[in-house]
């Protein structure tokens, strides 16, 4: 009988940062968190985390304060839209020149 293992290459992935590729290079607007307004940062409590929950690329950490991974953040702005404290602003990427590696 054939010993071949069939179907050993499929498109299957887990949701997570980088799942959509190097999406950070798509970014035009950069989300910047104002820690003075950010609820978990301000209260030093594990609370809110709407940005972590809604990020479609899973690039916001569930930490105090939340940290955005700009390597994969594509700048969609959903976090800024969802933030109940209006703590996230979308800043033109041209004011934050991309650091060459």
């Amino acid at each position: 009988m054939t010993t071949r293992t069939f179907c050993n290459k499929i498109s299957r992935s887990k949701p997570g940062p980088g799942d959509g590729g190097n999406t950070g290079s798509w970014r035009v607007l950069r989300p910047v968190i104002n820690l003075e307004a950010c609820i978990p940062a301000k209260r030093n409590k594990k609370a809110c985390f709407h940005c972590w929950l809604y990020c479609p690329d899973s690039v916001v950490s569930k930490t105090i304060p939340p940290v955005i991974n700009y390597e994969y953040c594509k700048g969609c702005g959903i976090c800024a839209e969802e933030c109940p404290a209006d703590a996230i602003s979308m800043v033109d990427e041209s004011t934050h020149p991309v650091e060459e590696k």
């Binding site: 071949r4 179907c7 290459k9 499929i10 498109s11 299957r12 887990k14 949701p15 959509g20 590729g21």
Partner: protein
């Protein structure tokens, strides 16, 4: 147990014996009695399956894709324009490596509108990546459906079981219905290689980038081209796998032995007629007549068209004087698709036969024994005078 029934009922009975779990189909002539029979089986409880009525063939295949992704044994059936309406989903099903089985009762494609038999519908889908098996009679229909489920789940590639509309779908013939217990041991419960699992959540077939890249766990994930290469390699390997499955089937049920091509009086033949489907059995009558007149001729039915059984075809035709390819389909603007494929396969063989191409029976035009006899006689009498272009049989211009 032998019963006398239609080809569509043979197919439906094969699906019931294979214990399909999800069936979604939209009725289209000449496939309709197959789906009606399956809905009867489900309604009466004879088949424990979810029968999902849909509003189109595109949705039928979409339902099968979802059901198969969830890890169930899924089945649908269609014909002609219905098959073409699901084309986008056909490609999805095969790219997603889902072991769906589909019967196609072959019918000509409109326009102009036709409900009668030819094979343009499935032949035009030869490049999708689906495995295509063709049955020549009712026994082969029911047997092929059962074998198709096992093949599909072994190689994770969807399989079409095709049979000629009306000529097989609506005619009645005796055939053996295998015992359920034997089918159960031949076709064990479906254990998918990959499926939607709440315990292990993941995405299937989201945007896949041109290049390979590490996934979130750091494992290297294939790019699109690697996934498609793997499909192609698996399809080529499926030729041997199907031969093995056929052998196991033969051992259990006593029928089979011709998984890729089915030869009749070919061994000592100088001339071999080649075709797909029930026409190969019609041609046996013609071959018998010609044999009585000492023409050394045989006929070969191509049972699996994709993946293309090039080695089996070369073995059968190498050293013959002439292969005569009859087709109820055409790659418009070129030649018969089977003819072109066989010609390409023979390119590297040492003793290439001459090869002729006849197009016939499109849109259900009756194929008369005398016409086949005349065509084969012309090919055998002067094999060297034919041009590399199709001749049409029975045209009334």
């Amino acid at each position: 147990m032998h019963i006398i029934e239609s080809g569509n009922v043979a197919a439906a009975t094969g699906v019931k014996l294979s214990r399909a779990q999800v069936i979604a189909a939209y009725p289209i002539t000449p496939q309709t009695p197959l789906t009606e029979k399956l809905s009867e089986f489900v309604e009466s409880g004879a088949l424990k399956a979810e029968y999902i009525p849909v509003e189109s063939e595109h949705s039928a295949m979409a339902v099968c894709i979802a059901a198969s992704t969830a890890g169930t044994r899924a089945f649908t059936a269609t014909s002609a324009n219905g098959l073409l309406y699901m084309v986008e989903q056909l490609h999805w099903a095969v790219g997603a490596r889902l072991p769906i089985v589909m019967c196609v009762a072959n019918r000509g494609i409109g326009a102009p509108w036709t409900v009668w038999n030819d094979q343009q519908d499935t032949i035009s889908q030869r490049d999708a990546g689906w495995i295509q098996i063709y049955a020549n009679d009712h026994q082969q229909i029911i047997d092929s459906v059962i074998k198709a489920f096992r093949l599909a789940q072994t190689v994770s590639i969807p399989v079409m079981v095709c049979y000629d509309g009306y000529l097989l779908s609506h005619t009645y013939m005796p055939f053996d219905v295998p015992d359920q217990s034997k089918v159960d041991s031949f076709l064990p419960a479906f254990t998918p290689t990959h499926f939607l699992d709440p315990e292990n959540p993941g995405n299937f077939n989201t945007v896949t980038l041109p290049d390979i890249r590490p996934d979130v766990d750091g494992e290297m994930a294939p790019g699109y081209i690697e996934i498609r290469h793997n499909l192609h390699q698996d399809l080529r390997a499926a030729l041997d796998t199907y031969a093995e499955i056929d052998k196991a089937f033969e051992k259990e049920f006593g029928r089979g032995g011709n998984p890729l091509v089915e030869k009749y009086r070919c061994d000592d033949a100088d001339f071999v007629a080649v075709c797909i489907g029930s026409l190969s059995y019609h041609l046996r009558d013609v071959i018998d007549i010609m044999r009585e007149n000492d023409v050394k001729i045989g006929v070969m039915g191509v049972q699996m068209y994709r993946p293309f059984p090039d080695k089996a075809i070369i073995d059968a035709l190498n050293g013959k004087k002439c292969a005569i390819v009859f087709e109820k389909a055409l790659s418009y603007g070129n030649q018969g698709a089977l003819y072109a494929d066989i010609k390409a396969a023979l390119y590297t063989s040492e003793k290439k036969p001459r090869i002729h191409n006849y197009i016939l029976g499109l849109g259900g035009r009756e194929i008369k024994t005398q016409q086949l006899l005349d065509a084969l006689t012309a090919s055998c009498t002067s094999p060297n005078t034919f041009e590399d272009t199709p001749s049409w049989i029975g045209l009334k211009l």
